[in-house]
């Protein structure tokens, strides 16, 4: 635990925000849902082809994932967050107590304030999802995290642990318009790597991260192709 003085803390744990509700069109995920609940939720993992499970399964350990909440991960907009990186690949909104419903992409770029995250809304827009990360050791923060999706025929590339907070890119130059051929995949991964700012920290250098982005976008697109 860090040494930090907190004058006023609000405990959200008894507000009934610890459940995942599934309807025909969306998942409503309360802010106090734990990462372990995400990992074990059959509906979410069926919809994302287990990408959500893959995104959270190496976050520290089971005991930690029984405590850490999706609201804490998303609201913090931490650079190392696998959760934010994964959710940016989805067609996803957040509901803020004061700010109402905004897209997760927009929320990820907002400055921190004192609003309260109530829930995350994942729309069941047809899509394919793949997530992977590079870690120096299992359970450590990622050196790079990479989520790739194709939602409503739009490719999305979410890169986290750059080490800045996750960034969402799209295929702006229509590199993949003729499909996931070897050449298109190679060009796309190079484009994403070139357009993602990276930096160095004790887990890896900026150059290494840029190289990893190239590798992981390629791998994830190949997996998205069904191989």
């Amino acid at each position: 635990m860090a040494d930090k003085n907190v004058n006023n803390a609000i405990d959200l744990s008894d507000l009934g925000l610890d459940t995942i509700t599934e309807t025909e069109t969306e998942f409503s995920i309360g802010a106090m849902v734990t990462l372990r609940q995400l990992e074990l939720h059959e509906g979410l993992n069926t919809y994302t082809q287990n990408a959500i499970r893959q995104a959270v399964c190496d976050i520290v350990g089971v005991q930690f994932r029984n405590m850490a909440t999706v609201g804490g991960s998303i609201f913090g907009r931490f650079g190392f967050s696998d959760v934010l990186t994964m959710f940016l690949t989805l067609d996803c909104d957040v509901e803020l107590f004061q700010g109402g419903i905004v897209s997760l992409e927009q929320f990820s770029q907002m400055k921190p304030d004192n609003d309260i995250l109530v829930r995350i809304i994942v729309k069941k827009t047809p899509g394919q999802f793949v997530y992977d990360s590079m870690r120096n050791t299992r359970t450590d923060f990622p050196v790079i995290a990479c989520g790739v999706s194709c939602v409503n025929e739009e490719y999305r590339f979410s890169i986290g642990a750059r080490p800045g907070k996750a960034l969402l890119l799209r295929d702006e130059e229509h590199i993949l318009k003729d499909g996931l051929t070897e050449n298109n995949i190679r060009n796309m991964s190079k484009w994403v790597a070139a357009h993602t700012p990276t930096d160095s920290n004790l887990r890896g250098s900026a150059k290494y991260r840029t190289h990893l982005i190239d590798v992981f976008v390629q791998r994830n697109l190949i997996q998205l192709r069904g191989e």
């Binding site: 635990m1 405990d11 744990s13 520290v60 350990g61 089971v62 005991q63 930690f64 405590m67």
Partner: protein
């Protein structure tokens, strides 16, 4: 603030400061199996069950456990004794400091998944660090226990 926690089956009412950690509270009530390790949510030494789920007591306020059911290894001796001998037989423990948290999380694993594969054991216990061993002894111990149980 006033709290009420069921600790190993016994209802305890207590007055705690708002920043009292659950690890300090359970140790104050005699549960010394719960060890203070990394204090950064990484090592698993302080594992307790809250409402049957393993959590890290070094990273949870006692106030958060108010109204809940908390169990430590002191309250789970019967359930643990079946497999700890198999771990001891492998000489898996050296200093033994990690052992209570490791045993707690193994109980949780076996409740959720009575017949895990080696990879499932490794994945579930990834949040329990041991600085003496290479984890192979613990893995062999659990595997031998499962083989014995399934005979």
């Amino acid at each position: 603030m006033e709290i009420q926690i069921t600790l190993n089956g016994k209802i305890i009412k207590d007055h705690v400061e708002p920043d009292c950690l659950l690890i300090d509270w359970v140790r104050k009530h005699g549960c010394y199996s719960v060890k203070r390790g990394c204090e950064t949510s990484n090592c698993g030494l302080c594992t307790v069950f809250m409402d049957g789920k393993p959590v890290l007591s070094c990273s949870m306020l006692a106030a958060r456990a108010n109204g809940h059911n908390v169990q430590t290894l002191e309250g789970l001796q019967e359930e643990a004794k079946d497999f700890v001998a198999f771990i001891a037989d492998q000489g898996a423990d050296q200093c033994g400091f990690c052992n209570p948290g490791f045993v707690m999380n193994t109980i949780s694993l076996l409740r959720e998944n009575p017949n895990p594969t080696d990879d499932e054991i490794r994945a579930y216990l990834a949040g329990n660090l041991c600085r003496c061993s290479g984890y192979e002894g613990q893995l062999r111990g659990i595997r031998n226990y499962l083989n014995h149980k399934n005979k």
